[in-house]
Every structure is written in structure tokens, then in C-alpha cells.
Symmetry: C2
Subunit: 430 residues, 2 copies
């Protein structure tokens, strides 16, 4: 049996959850890995605060040096945000400790530098919990897709926005209404920007794509669009056309070491797409590899226990598995996301309540040279799919005579090719 | 760079796929694992047969001894079935070769003995491709759920039956009709028993549960029911009640080293369950662990490339990862699946075309002491959900005066507790 000393930074939801999981799973971990993880020191901001977890007072300190001196081989960082977390992680690695963290912002912004430092010091930094909570997606990419080139990643990476969109779609209520209720119940933050404006998903996408494409894309260069402008009418019309609207994070690479394209934004998925039915607080990641085809991982993207699970599994694997990391290749060429050429969903809210017949609208749009796949209308709104879409088409539609618009939204569509690809294998099922 | 000699047994869809994948992915594998896998010998039944893969004639033999003498460290078994595959695998392990196989029947029936032999000879036997094609479910259980007790596994493990049920449900056509068409197009075997009677799913469930529960359940003792008696009317009424009907493989363990219950059969899932929307040829496995909550893996369960992907990933991991296997604990107590106490779906086809009003039927059933949750009727059939179901209830319903039945079917319901569990976390989204 090995005894491993662990230092815990932060003792909130994640830190407390990790402490509890190490207690409750001690016997299983010991039996299966012959390792006993002992929390020897816990760094907090306020020493005297009331704790939900009892019997830890002797371990608590406000001095990071005391943690490093407590005979620890691994530091679990559960503070969140960039500073002081980044500084502590850097010091831990420099001191020769392994690091396990759930911090997506840290690993998105400083991951390359921290990974390099870890390699130099011959230790590991693992961060499964930073993306998709309990879903073992980083491990899957690092250990089970070694022989595959992953060329596209699509993910529902933020539970709060997925919950909001699910309720808007099922109950027909507005974004503002669901958000207010979620905030009141503590499901959404008082300042919801990190979630609803897509920052959280951007961090997670940056981490995923760095590992999949072996190249770094700075978070500031990732296209980002939130869900504030989505209405229940738009969701309803999209569904009538056969699509679900999700806050989708998408990363794509065009050929090995080729250019990449990354973005987070509201995106339509055919209802038959494996991500289209992922509702509520669930997160999911859809990976496309050149041999395996597509694999989707679904699970709880947040919460004390799923996050703690990922951290504790990382702890076990520090001592079981080889490092999953690969050296990065050079700077990638970054292509703008949502390029022309594919299909596009257009939703228009009309100023007058008289909505044109879908067939009539199709004919009229085709008359001005657009390729319309399908159109529907309801509640003073109209929606249609344009094939071979080009950004200029939006302005063409706006000036279409006879329509008085109060608003126009255009969204990319993902996964249509995927559905088509599936057909030859078994026709009729997409 | 390491050079590893590989012997291939069988050169059909799987064997040919593995050969092709080793060629097409050679550079990726080499870059990421510093290993070159060279196929040095291929065992076939008929030497002179025309091959889809060219340039391999010099490697082909009909003599197993020649394969072992070709300087191979790993044998990939891609013959299928039990004999002669079992004998070859045994001889390969005895000769000190690692083995990678896609053979579910072999690993379900002889896995314990072959694992033991491998351990004795200090080699590994890996078989990711035997369950769920390209989905890395065995690897996930072996390496990413070390600190979790997995207490329930539910899986859609057979693509052919899932395809048939999906088409029956979407198009309202009969089992016989879809099967005949699938056979004509080569999607289903001429003798469909292995798929439609649930044998294939039973083998896969046996493998999954042995690894998850660390105990062996002989395949002959696993409850097995196929999909031949399902009608489109039943699927429609189940959907109206909010459920999808799937050929579900379920394994459950009650406490560590506790009794287990395993079964394959048509089962209802709430439409909000992560497996309910897995349609067509897709396979999926839903794992419930005591810390992680639930994780679902979805992907292509069969086909040349997904299967080859899993085999080649296993090849890489033979040389990268520690053995994922744990010693088995003793013989488990086997509980019958589908026990009383839960909810049950009852579908009745009526002899006379006059279908009772659902409300009236509910009242009448409640009058004889049954707890009815919901009822619907259409097309001469009626369906309802009984709470706290007991096997005797089925006969009570049959004798209910006023109903002339031509048929009655009763199905278990899974995942209702799961949906309820999710509610506290985020109310309103199940």
C-alpha cells in the first residue's frame, strides 16, 4: 500500500466534495489501486468560517507554505478563477508536486505554460473535472483515441444555459423569466454573464481543442455568442423544422496540423443528432474521429459529486496511467467559424402580425435567387432554412419587399452532414 | 521506436478493417505512441479466396502454428464464435502473446478462464471491441471509474434490434416487415435469432457486468427476451404515455459484493432518459456510479471501422496502460430481474374493436385494487402503467370483466427513479 499526502486548496463546494469523496471511497480506492490518499492540509481564505465538513479544523491553514510543508505529493486546486490559483499551481509544480484541478479558466488561459512547467519538473497536471464535470472526456481523448485523428468536437458544455433553453423550449417561457427563476433558486449566478454569454463554454472548448488538435487557440480569439436573444418562438419554429437549438461549442480541424475553427453560439442540430436530446443540466461532448466515427459522452456537467468524482479519478490515475499529453505543434491558422456554404436557419419576427404563408415566402425568396429548404410560420414569426448560405443573404432577406421585420436572427446548423453520412450504413435511420 | 509483430486471425470485415486501420493510422500511432505495429501473419480458412485487401498474399496462411512462428507479440482474434477462436486464443496466451479480440461470445462464455490464463502468463487480453463497437466503455470502467462503485448498467447493445424498433416506431410498420427489408438489404442476418432474440445483447451484458461488479454471471442464467412480439401499436401507446421501448440490457448490484440481477428484454424508458433518444444503429451504455452520478456513452456499435478502431486502440494500450482487470470476488447471489414493486407497463390488444375510455378503465382497475398511473387507448389497443406492480396483477387484469383480450403484454420500466433523482438538483428538468 502506498500512502499519498494530498494538499487541498479551497474548501467550498468542489474542495469539500473532494474531501468527502476521499473518505467515502477510501476502501474502494485502496482495494483497486493499493493507494491511500490522505488530505494533510487545507488552504482556506478565512480560518474561522463555519464548515459543512466536520473534523478538519486541525488541517486548515491560510498560509500556502504550510500546505507545501505538510508532506504532500499532490495539490488539488479547488479555488477557481485565475489568481491566486495560477500562482499556487505554479508554485506547487515548481516544488515537484503533481496537480489536479477543476479550474477551466485557469487551464484555458494558462494551460500551455503550466503543462510545460509540469513536464520540466517531471510531474503531471490533470484537469478532467474542468470540462464536463464527471464526464471522462479528457481521459477518453488522451487514452482511447490515440489511433484516431479527431477532426471535430461539438459540445453542450454549460449546464445553466442548457437548463434555461430546455425550459424555454418545453414551457414556452421567455429567457428573462427562466433566468430570474433560476437565479432565485440558486441554479444561476447573480451575475449570469459567465454562463449565458458563453464565457464558461469558451474556456472548456479551448481546453478540449488544445488536447484534440494538439495546438493552442487563445480564448480571446474564439468566437463567442450567448443565448440572451433567443425567444421561445424561435425555439418552437426551429423544432417545427426538425431542429433543436443548443448553445453549442464547436471545434473543427481541417486536415492534420491544418487550420482550425472554434466557436460557441446558439446552433441548430437535427433532432436525430446525438446532442439534440441532451436536455436540462446535462452536458455532452460529441467527438468525431477518422476511424471510430462519432462517440458521444453524456453526464452531469457540474455539481459537488460529479466534479469530486473527476478529481478523485484523476488522483488515482496520477499513479496508474502515463501522462496523456502530447507536445503541441505550432500556432494554427485560425479560420472564422460559421463560414458560408453550409445551411443556415433564419428566424424573422414581423412587425405586422400578418404572417406570410410559408409556401408563398419560399417562392418569393427563390424568386430573388435564394435556395430555401423549408419554411414555417407561427405567432407573428417566420423561419426557414437557406441552403448554400452566404452572409450577404441576410441583408437580401431584410430588404425583401412586403415583409416588415422587427427582428432577424440567423443561426448556423451543425450535424446535417453527419446525418447524411449515416444513411448509407442503414438507410432510413438518421 | 518499438516494432511490434501482430498476428491476425480471420480476415473478414473485422480482420480486414484492422489491417486497413493499421495502415491508414500508422503515422498517427507512431507519432503518439512511438510504436509501429506490423502485421506479420494472417490466418484464414481458405487460402485462395479473393480478398478485398490487396498485397497481403505473402502473409496469408491456413496454419495457426505458422502465425505463432512469424515473430508476433500480439494476436488479434477476428474469427468470431467460440471454436476454434477459443482454442487459438488459449494457445496464443500460453505462448506468451498478448491477445486483442472483438469476440463477445468468446469473452462472455470463456472470459474468466482466458483472463486467468493471461494473468498466469503475465500477458494481457483486451476486448474493447466486443461491446459497443467503437464506444470505449470497457476502458472507461477499467480506468476512469476506479473510485466509483458502479451499481447499475443499462445498455442498448444491439444495433440491429434498435434499428428495427426505431423504424417500427417512426413508420408504424410491423416487426416482420422491417426485418424482411433489413435482411434483404443485408442489415440483418438470414437467421436473425442472435439479434432479435437477445443472445448478442446477453453476451455483451455478461462482459460488462463481470467487469463492473467484479463477479461472473453465466450467460445461461441471464434473463433473455427478444423483440418479436412487439407491435407498432404498443410502441405508439407507450410513447403517448411518455416512454420509449428499447431492447434494454440491464445489470444491477445491490451493495458491494451484494446480489446481482441481469436481464435483456423490451423495456420502457421515460422519454427524458439519456438512452430513450438513442435511435437507429447507435448503441449506448448508461453507467450509474455512487459518486459520478450517471454517465452515458453513445456510438456506433458495429461496422468495420468502429470495430477496427476499438481493436487498434486496444493494441496501443497494451503497451501504454496497466491492465484494467481486477480479480473477481466469489459467486454472486443472482436475483431474478424484473421483480415486483416497481412500475409496469401493460399493453392489451382487445378482441372487440370497442376500446374503453382510458378514464373509465382507470376507475374500473382501481376498483379492483390496482394503482393505475395513466392510461391511453387507440387502434383497438389500450395501455396503462401500474404502480407497485406484482406478477399476479397481470392475471387480475386479464379477468377484468368487460374486456375481451386477444393479447396482453407486460413490460418493466427503467430509469423512473433516475428522473426523480434529477429533480432536486434542478426542478422542472427531468
Amino acid at each position: 500500500m502506498k500512502r499519498i499526502g494530498v494538499g487541498l486548496l479551497g474548501f467550498g463546494t468542489v474542495g469539500g466534495g473532494v474531501y468527502n469523496a476521499l473518505q467515502s471511497q477510501e476502501d474502494v480506492i485502496l482495494k483497486r489501486t493499493e493507494t491511500l490518499f490522505e488530505v494533510r492540509s487545507i488552504l482556506v481564505k478565512e480560518k474561522e468560517k463555519e464548515r459543512a465538513v466536520k473534523g478538519v479544523q486541525s488541517l486548515i491553514t491560510t498560509d500556502f507554505d504550510r500546505v507545501l510543508e505538510a508532506g504532500v505529493e499532490v495539490i488539488v486546486e479547488a479555488i477557481g478563477g485565475t489568481e491566486p490559483a495560477r500562482m499556487y499551481v505554479e508554485r506547487a509544480l515548481e516544488a515537484g508536486c503533481h496537480v489536479v484541478t477543476a479550474n477551466k479558466e485557469l487551464m484555458a488561459k494558462h494551460g500551455v505554460q503550466l503543462e510545460r512547467l509540469a513536464r520540466d519538473r517531471k510531474v503531471q497536471i490533470l484537469y478532467e473535472a474542468s470540462v464536463g464535470g464527471g464526464i471522462p472526456v479528457l481521459g477518453t481523448m488522451g487514452h482511447f483515441l490515440k489511433a484516431n485523428r479527431v477532426h471535430r468536437i461539438s459540445g453542450i458544455l454549460n449546464g445553466t444555459t442548457n437548463y434555461i433553453l430546455t425550459r424555454m423550449s418545453r414551457e414556452g417561457v421567455s429567457f428573462a423569466e427562466v433566468l430570474a427563476e433560476a437565479q432565485q433558486k440558486g441554479y444561476a449566478e447573480a451575475d449570469p454573464a459567465a454562463d449565458v454569454d458563453g464565457f464558461d463554454a469558451v474556456y472548456k472548448l479551448a481546453v478540449l481543442c488544445r488536447l484534440a488538435f494538439e495546438t493552442e487557440v487563445p480564448v480571446g480569439q474564439i468566437l463567442r455568442e450567448g443565448i440572451r436573444d433567443i425567444t421561445p418562438e424561435e425555439l418552437e419554429l426551429a423544432r417545427k423544422l426538425g431542429y433543436a437549438v443548443k448553445l453549442l461549442a464547436t471545434g473543427e480541424q481541417y486536415g492534420e496540423k491544418g487550420p482550425v475553427s472554434l466557436g460557441v453560439g446558439p446552433t441548430l442540430l437535427p433532432l436525430s443528432h446525438p446532442l439534440a436530446g441532451v436536455d436540462g443540466v446535462y452536458n455532452a461532448i460529441h467527438l468525431e474521429g477518422d476511424v471510430v466515427g462519432d462517440v458521444t459522452l453524456v453526464g452531469r456537467g457540474a455539481g459537488e459529486k460529479p466534479t469530486a468524482s473527476a478529481v478523485v479519478e484523476d488522483l488515482c490515475n496520477l499513479y496508474r496511467l502515463p501522462s496523456p499529453r502530447l507536445p503541441l505543434s505550432g500556432e494554427p491558422l485560425l479560420l472564422p467559424a460559421g463560414e458560408a456554404g453550409g445551411s443556415r436557419f433564419i428566424f424573422m419576427k414581423l412587425r405586422d402580425r400578418e404572417v406570410p404563408e410559408p409556401e408563398q415566402l419560399c417562392r418569393s425568396l427563390e424568386g430573388i435567387g435564394l435556395e430555401v429548404v423549408d419554411a414555417v410560420s407561427a405567432h407573428g414569426g417566420v423561419a426557414f432554412i437557406l441552403r448554400r448560405w452566404d452572409p450577404s443573404h441576410t441583408s437580401i432577406v431584410v430588404t425583401e419587399p412586403g415583409l416588415e421585420l422587427s427582428r432577424i436572427t440567423s443561426r448556423p446548423i451543425q450535424g446535417v452532414n453527419l446525418s447524411q453520412e449515416r444513411q448509407p450504413e442503414m438507410e432510413g435511420v438518421v
